[in-house]
């Protein structure tokens, strides 16, 4: 049994109290988390630290003895990410245990050499545990961001049916490859589902068009043509027209119209319908 696990065993309740008061002084966020919950987590942490330290204290957390500890850390980090703690506040939950532990190590130690090596061992172990919590914390934050991005992608690409055989796709916001891919797929799928012969892509809400975006638009138009539907691009703003020409992007034989209304008229002509005012 290593010196660290001995101390954990011997001074368990003292360590816990010192640690809790340490946390209360520096990092506890009473607005986000109650004392009872924190104590519960601390007790659980100590149990599992003891369990892990019995097996190894070299700072390697991948062993089976550390399995439960890893799960606890994942749990703690996730819940803190959701509760609104910062990354450093989450890591300090672990790191603040250093002070009480080192104090006990010093008291128990007989010689300077032994103390130095034990301190190093404990320091290394707690650092690794702290880093692990930070890593999990960031991962769960990233997962949240990714989910929101996905939501945004799905929300922002509606394909609307304007008339029998006419679809419209109002694009809003910046177009990147991933988004254009989804736009393209949903438009083509809707063309099949509704049997539409004309599709209007309205880019009034697209702030900038660079070569990549123009390329994507052309691809979509070409793919629609291959399936037997015509595409009309509408809502090209003056600045965008300038950029397109300056960039040397040939929109080729794509029909472009100033507004969605103009494009709609062309689409109606294509499908053989007309709109007229009623006589009163």
């Amino acid at each position: 049994m290593s010196a660290i696990s001995e101390i954990l065993n011997k001074y368990r309740s003292e360590l816990l109290e010192d640690w809790l008061s340490e946390m209360t002084g520096s990092i506890r966020r009473s607005d986000l988390m109650g004392t009872d919950e924190l104590r519960q987590q601390a007790v659980h942490f100590l149990d599992l630290l003891q369990l892990g330290a019995n097996a190894s204290t070299d700072g390697d957390l991948s062993g089976p003895a550390w399995q439960d500890m890893r799960e606890l850390l994942i749990d703690i980090s996730r819940s803190r990410a959701a509760q609104g703690f910062t990354a450093s506040e989450t890591a300090r939950f672990v790191l603040s245990f250093k002070k009480p532990l080192f104090a006990r190590l010093r008291r128990e130690s007989k010689d300077a050499d032994g103390l130095a090596s034990q301190t190093w061992e404990a320091n290394n172990m707690l650092d690794n545990i702290g880093l692990y919590t930070t890593e999990v914390f960031l991962k769960s934050r990233e997962a949240i961001i990714q989910r929101q991005q996905q939501d945004m992608l799905e929300l922002s690409t509606p394909v609307v049916k304007l008339w029998e055989g006419i679809l419209a796709l109002p694009l809003i916001g910046t177009l990147d490859s991933a988004r254009t891919q989804i736009v393209m797929e949903s438009l083509l799928q809707q063309i099949v589902n509704t049997g539409s012969r004309v599709a209007i892509i309205d880019i009034t809400g697209v702030p900038t068009v660079d070569t990549l975006v123009a390329q994507h638009l052309l691809k979509t138009v070409t793919a629609a043509r291959l399936m037997g539907a015509d595409c009309i691009i509408s809502g090209i703003r003056p600045q965008i027209a300038q950029t397109i020409v300056h960039l040397g992007v040939g929109l080729g034989d794509v029909i472009t119209k100033a507004t969605l209304a103009d494009a709609f008229v062309v689409a109606l002509q294509r499908t053989g319908s007309t709109i007229s005012k009623t006589q009163r």
Binding site: L188, L226, G228
Partner: protein
Amino acid sequence: MERIPILKLGDFLLVTIQVDMHDRLAMNLQDDLTNKISETKPAGVLIDISSLEVVDSFIGRMIGNIAAMSRVLDAETVVVGMQPAVAITLVELGLSLPGVRTALNVDAGMELLREQAARREELTSGGAKA
């Protein structure tokens, strides 16, 4: 040997590709269709690829080639029913099949062919009068 049937429907030829194309099959179709066109002299050819779900660059090229060949043989050609995934793949492969007529489904394709045939009739009869 596996072949894709070519059906004669009135004044038009109908080719429906119901299986996944492989290279040999596409080559056979190219031979058969060109022969059949010169035999029967149809006004139009309709190629239905609505069941085709997998294409590679070769098959994409063959579709374009077959359509171009029938046009050279003086038959209006229309490719109908391309699946979205196939269309995206062809565009990504850089095969935009310029000059190939397309339509959403067999219905729209037949309508297109009839229009073309009528226009051609008009031209020839007009030419005869003059």
